[in-house]
């Protein structure tokens, strides 16, 4: 496959884009699955193996997605949201990677690893051939023109391609070209999706400074290259079309990581960080998505630079908290070097760059639905899901009720995890990725594809969502039925099963109870215990690659669409009410922002290395830049979550945007890991967004 791709593709070069990357294969249509590109040929033709090898498990697993219990994207292994191992390419170049692979092969005594080494080598050779074809195409274009500017343009592409076919980049331009090219090639060769464009401030600063010193580059030239580098991504976005009808056939995952700490705990923010932020603002980009890593050592000027777009109605930057994520990664077995180099791909899937793929977006699990299925007796549905849930009706104490709920959620999780482990183990047969694996750490030594667990780390993330529903429901039953005894458990269950109809007084009581985000110590304690228990349970399983399952707290637009299937829950939610994203409190309560942040900070987030996401919508009326910066610093320093999805908006503006969309084209809101123009959102997404708590 690699060789056929390399042999037959035609490089596409652009007169006005200084970089080379377009193979024309991204839209290669193989049986209608656009997003897998040419390298997806294998996967598309072999994914039936998933079903054939374990048909019953397969069906129940897919049913769980249809019934809004957990996602089945992949279905068992996330084939998307990867980060190409840029740091290895930037250090070794293709020839270095090849040498490492050969050395690994030479030393490897396991007899059944030959296929991997052969395929990986062919993959690397094919990529070298692809780059050389770009060089050749550029040379042809150069020779076909007399225009000096054109010749210079093609010459630069030609020389850079020739260089990168073997060696690591030696200049800032080559560094950017490297990131651009390998991002695309990663998307092409193996039928997996790349989401991360790199951490250019961290990865290219030495090249940039060396170029400046040697007089090879000026700051203005570098800024121009940065603009062009990011513009290509933005050009994929056709603002006349809805988001789900874009070139990428879906919400775009192109992410750029800036800022953060190095392994010694020193901030890496530098002049490139500022330039990328300024360019993103100047060009008014939505994509690439910038994920800005903060720490207590982030300088105030950068916080201000990050805060400014929000106050101008551009809610486009995602914030990652090194104070939470680095300790979480360290606790979960990463070295300081690997932990400090983390990226968040796609929306928020934390990956230790160059060493793993963390499978972060394949199996979001809805605690809200688990609570629904516990309360609403539905034997047929449970049968379809292959789940044997206990009934809570006979619980005579809160502990019994809690045990019933936790047993049920563990039953559902166990089924999901075991199915992933069992069915996912077919993945190396369905879609091995030798080229990608060869570029990751350790696969060269182990001789195993990353799908077989050959990479340095092989975690599989298990993101939970609807957390607030779970906690508030438990607290509601505890308080109402077993502490205050204002209603019996049976009465509570009847109320919920009837969607609260006829039980308005009871619902009122429930809504006035302590709840997640309200600053109540007992609720915090309960929340912490629940998460610790779930963490312990989830991490006791081994995944499809023999690695650990790791925990996360987030989900995607499922909070909108799964909500429609999720029935009333004891926290006061009615049928169809939206779910709560990540660790965000329920929208039925309106607490102070400080209570929400403190509750979030009380959680054992170091046990959630996959990420822990908090959504906050702030009212822009009267909000100053200083106040916003103060809030961001507080969020960082008290370690309130791994990621903050922030919006600064005004209700009046949203209402006017509904009435007069033409006057609000520039209003961009942060949704579920991505940003979009508010006026392009469908009715469901708009409603969900408007109903979020506004602080």
């Amino acid at each position: 496959m690699y060789e056929i791709i390399a042999e037959n593709f035609t490089p596409v070069l652009f007169r006005n884009d200084p970089f080379f990357w377009e193979t024309g294969l991204k839209t290669a249509e193989y049986n209608g699955r656009r997003e897998l590109s040419a390298g997806g040929f294998l996967m598309l033709n072999r994914e039936h193996l998933y079903r054939e090898k374990h048909p019953e498990s397969f069906l129940e697993y897919i049913m769980a997605d249809r019934h809004a219990l957990h996602l089945a994207y992949g279905p068992f292994c996330d084939y998307d949201h990867h980060c190409f191992p840029f740091s290895n390419l930037l250090k070794l170049g293709l020839s270095g990677i090849l040498a490492r692979l050969r050395e690994g092969r030479r030393k490897n005594t396991c007899p059944d690893r030959d296929d991997f080494y052969t395929a990986a080598e062919k993959g690397l050779n094919s990529v070298q051939k692809i780059i050389l074809k770009f060089a050749q195409a550029a040379e042809q274009r150069k020779n076909a023109t007399e225009d000096p500017a054109d010749r210079t343009h093609w010459e630069r592409i030609e020389q850079t391609a020739l260089k990168l076919s073997q060696d690591p980049p030696g200049t800032f331009f080559e560094g950017l070209a490297s990131l651009r090219f390998f991002y695309e090639i990663g998307n092409i060769m193996d039928g997996i999706g790349m989401s991360v464009l790199g951490s250019p401030d961290r990865q290219l600063i030495r090249l940039y400074r060396a170029d400046l010193q040697a007089g090879r580059l000026t700051r203005e030239e570098a800024y121009d290259l940065i603009c062009r580098f990011m513009l290509q991504v933005d050009c994929k976005l056709d603002s006349s079309r809805p988001l789900d009808k874009q070139y990428n056939a879906g919400e775009q995952g192109d992410t750029l990581i800036l800022g953060g700490l190095d392994e010694a705990g020193n901030p890496v923010d530098n002049e490139l960080t500022e330039m990328f932020l300024r360019a993103h603002e100047e060009l008014q980009l939505i994509y690439p998505k910038i994920q800005f890593r903060t720490s207590r050592r982030t300088p105030a000027e950068l916080f201000h630079l990050v805060a400014r777009p929000y106050l101008a109605g551009r809610n486009v930057i995602g914030l990652l908290n090194d104070e939470v994520l680095i300790p979480a990664l360290l606790k979960n077995g990463k070295t300081p070097h690997d932990a400090s180099g983390y990226v968040a791909g796609g929306c928020w899937e934390v990956i230790a760059e160059g060493t793993e793929h963390s499978e972060g977006a394949n199996c979001y699990f809805s605690l809200g639905r688990a609570m629904d299925l516990t309360i609403h007796h539905d034997p047929e549905l449970l049968k379809e899901l292959g789940l044997d849930f206990k009934q809570p009706d006979s619980a005579s104490s809160f502990q019994e009720f809690l045990d019933c709920c936790m047993d049920n959620v563990k039953t559902a999780l166990k089924k999901m995890l075991e199915t992933i482990a069992e069915c996912g183990s077919v993945w190396p047969e369905v879609n091995p990725c030798p080229f990608f694996s060869a570029c990751l750490d350790t696969c060269a030594e182990t001789g195993l594809d990353y799908t077989q667990g050959g990479a340095k780390y092989s975690p599989h993330s298990v993101p939970l969502t609807g957390f607030a529903i779970w906690i508030d429901s438990l607290e509601s039953v505890r308080k109402i039925c077993f502490e205050n005894r204002e209603a019996s458990l049976q009465e509570m269950l009847t109320a919920v099963r009837n969607n609260w109809k006829g039980f308005e007084q009871l619902r009122k009581k429930v809504l006035s109870l302590p709840h997640w985000g309200g600053g109540n110590p007992a609720v915090r304690e309960l929340a912490g215990e629940i998460l610790r228990e779930l963490h312990q349970f989830i991490t006791s399983f081994r995944n499809e690659r023999g690695g650990p399952f790791q925990c996360g707290l987030y989900s995607y637009s499922d909070i909108v669409f799964w909500a429609k299937q999720t029935r009333a829950t004891p926290d006061g939610r009615k049928d169809g009410d939206f779910l709560a994203q990540g660790i965000t409190p329920s929208r039925m309560h309106h607490d102070s922002i400080t209570s929400v942040l403190k509750d979030a900070a009380s959680l054992p987030l170091e046990d959630f290395p996959a990420n822990s996401v908090l959504n906050l919508n702030l009212s822009r009326n009267g909000l100053t830049e200083d106040a916003l910066v103060a809030l961001l610093r507080c969020w960082t320093e008290i370690k309130a979550s791994g990621m903050l999805q922030l919006n600064c908006i005004s209700r009046e503006e949203l209402e006017d945007a509904d009435r007069n969309p033409g006057s609000h084209e520039g209003l961009i809101v942060r949704l579920y890991g991505y940003s979009a123009r508010y006026v392009t959102l469908d009715a469901d997404r708009r409603r969900e967004f408007k109903e979020r708590n506004l602080f």
């Binding site: 308005e504 009122k508 209570s595 200083d626 103060a630 610093r633 507080c634």
Partner: protein
């Protein structure tokens, strides 16, 4: 007596703050957007739109103030003793009591919950209302307790109080958010009280080298005449050593609805000023003031 505590506020002084709203105010500003803050005693708010006619209030009321007939809920406010029992049982918050007593320690406990935020952001405690100076003993004790804990303190005030009140509170207050509501002559008609005491107190604070932010409500047609601008300019020039900056607060029509909920007559109705109107007024003030003028 307080009527609210808001944590995580970024609008009542620097940094992230906890604002304690004291109930009761000597003034009756015609544009007041928190009319429930004016009376010193508890009050009942009745919000008919929220009522679901469940009748729970009928059974709990000791004075038979509530009746439901022909699909309508009638509330006899003149009978009401504001015991709050109906508000406790109302499932949809159609009945709410404004005002509760809290001890200093109870309030301080709430304030201290966010200490870490104050340290990081340079925030603290703000006393607002209503009028904090009207409950001087309480205010003094709370500010003292906050200072004792190393917490930055701020008072938001209309300035109408005896001089002795300021003497007691000024040493405990790190920042004053002092209202400048109108020109001198218009104070009685617009606020119900004369301005002489108020301006004298402002001068007193400046003499004490207190740090002051002037807060100017902007109510087009009422307090945006040139005489108002002139007096503000003269005053700020006179006291410029103490005045950090001026904040303009556009009129908020929220209060109009609340008057109805309290069963009281609204003193004024008006539209919220447009952004352009507010920007123009701020520009006019910037023209004549020696300090920064910002939108609150």
């Amino acid at each position: 007596m307080i009527f609210d505590i808001i944590k995580g506020s970024v609008h009542d002084g620097p940094g992230i703050r906890t604002t304690v709203f004291l109930k009761g105010c000597p003034l009756r500003c015609i544009w007041c957007h928190n009319p429930e803050s004016q009376h010193f005693e508890k009050e009942l708010l009745w919000i008919p739109d929220n009522c679901i006619l469940c009748g729970a209030c009928i059974h709990t009321c000791p004075r038979a103030c509530h009746t439901i007939s022909d699909g309508h809920h009638q509330f006899r406010r003149d009978n009401c003793i504001r015991c709050g029992r109906c508000a406790e049982v109302c499932p949809e918050k159609a009945l709410r009591i404004s005002g509760r007593k809290m001890s200093i320690q109870e309030i301080l406990d709430v304030v201290l919950e966010d200490r870490l935020f104050y340290e990081i952001s340079g925030g603290g405690l703000t006393l607002s209302g209503g009028e904090p100076l009207a409950q001087v003993d309480f205010a003094e004790a709370l500010l003292k307790a906050a200072h004792h804990q190393g917490i930055h303190t701020c008072i938001e005030t209309c300035g109408y109080a005896e001089e002795s009140v300021l003497e007691r509170l000024a040493p405990l207050t790190d920042l004053w958010l002092f209202d400048f509501k109108a020109d001198f002559a218009s104070y009685p008609s617009l606020t119900g009280k004369p301005a002489d005491i108020i301006f004298a107190n402002l001068r007193k604070l400046a003499e004490k080298k207190s740090r002051i932010i002037l807060r100017c409500p902007f109510v087009p047609g009422r307090n945006d005449m040139s005489v108002c601008r002139k007096e503000l300019s003269d005053l700020v020039w006179e006291l410029r050593e103490s005045i950090q900056h001026v904040e303009v607060e556009p009129y908020n029509p929220l209060g109009e609805v609340k008057y109805a909920q309290l069963g009281r007559k609204c003193l004024m109705t008006a539209e919220k000023p447009s952004d352009a109107q507010t920007a123009r007024w701020i520009a006019l003030l910037r023209e004549v003031l020696p300090c920064e003028v910002i939108s609150g």
